[in-house]
């Protein structure tokens, strides 16, 4: 036990000998969590997509369109000048601009010449959503006129009008009726968010917090391979052969030290999530502890297995960072896994990051408890068992 403790302390001293380690241990993870969460506003802020609106018409109709957009659940209209809108659009600071040209009024609507312009950056999801919101707003604004026009043509078909004046009067009467009907339109859709045990509100920042936690902890744990390679290269592992230290003691000391440091790092990031981002990490501390330990063990096991194969510490360093980043990306730690094609969603189940992320989201997002995360924890322990076995089997002193 003393030897194991000595190895843990030696590794901790070596790792934190310079300030730069703190960068990767806590500073960068917090910056990344903060910035990536910054792209996904909290419940207090307006999460709707910003839509630049240029109102050159300045009529009651254009005001009605802007008002409909403001009531939309998808976009947040921001009325600006054309020059400002075009500058932001050309610099790609705005995904789309909506221009209501001069001359758009009720008369043009009745004549069927009313038109508005929408410009969007290509391949932009926000712009596509904004376009749908505009279409809905235009539909609402113009549907009364469309209905009146339809009523006029239906009436004309059934019984022709005696004069243009009669037709116009009929149109006005129909328009009034259509507007009255529109105002009385009831809500026809109700959205219910699936209930979680504690009625957790969905918070996309939870994705950022959990995803960055996994990313920044898995990479250094994969880095255990670098420790092995470094000690092999400097000959310290060979020296161990001359001492009464068993291979298991060395491996246990090295790995448990890194796992302990990873758990401390995760607790700091969880603390940041709770205190700064107000995330509900602490609902079931036992379940959280199980997930943190299982995730750390799985990552440490992969690092140990890698350490048995890599030749130099440079190689190990590059491989750990590369694998860590790729696994984090594919495991849904950077972008929600629901965005992946179904085949890829199935394939990425071979990655520990996928299971770690799933378990963390069960806790922080779905309000799950110990029972809910047992499958993920079991799979992670399975990863740990397999890779530790490979690591120990292929471990070599030189």
């Amino acid at each position: 036990m003393r030897k194991i403790l000595a190895i843990i302390i030696k590794d901790a001293i070596m790792r934190f000998s310079g300030f730069s380690e703190l960068l990767f241990f806590i500073i960068l993870p917090i910056i990344f969590t903060f910035l990536l969460a910054g792209g996904t506003p909290s419940g207090d802020e307006d999460a709707r997509i910003r839509l630049l609106v240029v109102d050159e018409a300045q009529t009651a109709l254009s005001a009605q369109i802007v008002s409909e957009l403001a009531a939309s659940s998808a976009v947040r209209p921001e009325v600006v000048s054309r020059a400002d809108a075009e500058e932001q659009f050309s610099q790609r600071r705005a995904s789309s601009i909506f221009i209501i040209p001069a001359g758009l009024d009720t008369a043009s609507l009745q004549e069927g010449t009313a038109a508005v312009d929408f410009r969007q950056q290509p391949n932009n999801l926000n712009a596509s959503i904004a376009q749908r919101a505009i279409q809905t707003a235009l539909r609402r604004v113009s549907s009364a006129v469309s209905a009146a026009n339809t009523a006029v043509s239906q009436r004309e078909e059934a019984m022709p009008f005696a004069s243009d004046a009669e037709k116009a009067a009929y149109f006005d009467q129909s328009l009034e009726l259509a507007r009255e009907l529109q105002e009385d339109t009831p809500q026809r859709v109700t959205v219910i968010r699936a209930a979680t045990p504690d009625q957790v509100e969905y918070d996309p920042r939870a994705n950022s917090s959990a995803g960055q936690l996994i990313t920044w902890v898995f990479i250094p744990l994969f880095g255990i391979s670098e420790l092995f390679a470094y000690e092999r290269a400097t000959g310290t592992l060979r020296r161990l052969l001359t001492t009464p230290t068993r291979k298991a003691t060395y491996l246990l000391g090295t790995i448990s030290g890194q796992v302990l440091m990873a758990i401390v790092q995760m607790l700091l990031l969880v603390g940041f999530g709770i205190l700064v981002m107000k995330l509900a990490w602490g609902r079931d501390p036992l379940a959280l502890a199980v997930m943190l330990v299982c995730s750390a063990l799985a990552a440490a096991a992969i690092g140990s297995a890698m350490g048995a194969f890599v030749k130099t510490s440079g190689q190990a360093n590059g491989l750990s960072i590369m694998l860590g980043m790729v696994m984090a990306l594919m495991g849904g730690c950077w972008y929600p896994i629901e965005l992946f094609p179904p085949a890829i969603q199935t394939f990425v189940k071979v990655l520990p990051t996928t299971w770690a992320m799933q378990g963390m989201l069960d806790l922080v997002l779905r309000g799950g408890g110990l029972v809910d995360i047992l499958p993920e924890a079991g799979v992670l322990l399975g990863f740990a068992a397999v890779f530790f076995a490979v690591g120990v089997w292929r471990f070599r002193y030189e």
Binding site: E21, L23, A115, A147, T150, R188, R193, P341
Partner: protein, 421 residues
């Protein structure tokens, strides 16, 4: 000048012989680009995101005109790639599937939905233009907010059309002469006919025409990988420049730098050669990744001269940062660690991970100090069909950035003992 080139070429060769460095310079950005290709749906034919085959459960208890019409919408060819609908027997079964994370949302169409909307004799007699609403329930999965949002948008769009049909038919019916004397059967038949007619109108027939324009879409169809691939290449370029800078300190420690300085070689030639080596390595790295994106992912880059100049400017700007880091660093370990940190920070600030548009305003302002942001701006311009003439601003900004950082670094080097014998 020859010495300067010899030192530069030597460093280029050394970098490309280092397997660990190659992993970082080429393999990592390539694999991450591949992964991002999956996320954006680039490899699955998606146009704007990787969303496809969203599992949605429908319960149609209405079993009438509008309930069936909504079911048809979910099964329509237009949405076949986006949605994967399935039907459930009861609302409870559908909700259970959502609770078990088997689907993104459940759409429950209650009995009497059609009846509550299509005008009837009773509605007209009672003057109740809006009957007691029978609401469709969308039960959403909180873990799949984007997919659930898509399902809601589909239902909203349908309801919007239905409302238009309802208002149109009600307005028409109420104006028909002799409506008061018609039988219930006649009124309902007329209502069905007019409702179908009004509901059948597509958006293009709306009173306000929406003219759309996708910037540059007429010339070139924008490829999301045209943003992702250079984003990753530029991020890992920051590793390359710090790796190159670190080699200067390595030579100092190993004694090869003092040896060079005692030979008839001037310090500026040594420093120039090292900078040239970093520049050539960075240029080769980004060039290979851009060519690989064209060969393996069929990204069309357009103007080759524009690409060549943009890469040169981006590498020049990044070299400035690499040199500044080397000038300030006290050990190879420090330069390596700070270089990796700079790579990641510039990556996120420059828009590699998420679009700058989604970032807070202060981050967008800070991003101007990164070669990544300017480089990505240039690459996006090219991917949208731009040419060298359109790259003035990003190229000039990168050159100014590089030059300024070179001057500052040279000043710091002049005061340090790195380049002294």
């Amino acid at each position: 000048m020859q010495k300067l080139f010899l030192i530069g070429i030597k460093d280029l060769k050394l970098a490309f012989r280092d397997r660990a460095a190659l992993m970082f310079m080429l393999l990592a950005p390539f694999l991450l680009t591949l992964g991002l290709g999956f996320v954006t749906g680039r490899f699955s034919g998606g146009s704007t995101s990787g969303l496809s085959d969203i599992p949605v459960v429908i319960v149609n208890l209405d079993k009438a005109q509008l309930g069936d019409a909504l079911l048809d919408v979910f099964y329509s060819d237009d949405l076949s790639a986006l949605l994967e609908p399935a039907e459930a027997d009861s609302p409870e079964a559908a909700r259970r599937l959502i609770d078990e994370d088997q689907a993104a949302a459940a759409v429950i169409i209650p009995a009497g939905f059609s009846e509550s909307i299509i005008p009837s004799r009773e509605m007209l007699d009672a003057g109740a233009f809006s009957a007691e609403p029978v609401q469709i329930e969308i039960y959403t999965n909180p873990a799949r907010p984007t997919s659930a949002g898509v399902v809601k948008a589909v239902v909203d769009e349908f309801i919007s059309r239905v409302e238009e049909g309802r208002i149109g038919s009600m307005t028409s019916i109420l104006g028909i002469p002799g409506i008061e004397t018609m039988s219930s059967l006649e009124v309902e038949g007329l209502a069905q006919e007019m409702f179908a007619e009004a509901d059948g109108q597509d958006f293009s027939s709306a009173a306000i025409t929406l003219r759309t324009d996708s910037q540059g879409a007429d010339a070139v169809e924008f490829d999301p990988l045209a943003y992702m691939a250079p984003g990753m290449a530029l991020m890992f370029l920051m590793f390359t420049v710090s790796y190159g800078g670190r080699s200067l300190l390595v030579e100092k420690i190993q004694g090869t730098l003092p040896r060079l300085l005692v030979s008839p070689t001037r310090p500026w030639q040594v420093l120039g050669g090292k900078v040239l080596g970093i520049f050539l390595t960075g240029y080769a790295q980004v060039g290979i990744l851009i060519i690989a994106s064209a060969l393996f992912f069929q990204v069309r880059w357009g103007d080759p001269l524009g690409i060549a100049m943009l890469i040169a400017a981006a590498v020049f700007g990044a070299c400035g940062w690499g040199l500044l880091l080397t000038a300030l660093g006290r050990s190879t370990g420090q330069v390596g660690a700070l270089g990796s940190a700079m790579m990641l920070i510039f990556g996120i600030l420059g828009g590699t991970f998420i679009s700058l548009e989604d970032m807070p305003a202060f981050v967008r302002a800070i991003s101007a100090i990164t070669p990544n942001a300017w480089g990505l701006d240039g690459f996006t311009t090219l991917a949208l069909g731009g040419s060298l003439a359109d790259l003035g601003k990003p190229i000039l900004s990168l050159l100014v950035m590089g030059a300024s950082l070179f001057v500052i670094s040279a000043f710091i080097f002049g005061r340090s003992n790195v380049m002294k014998r």
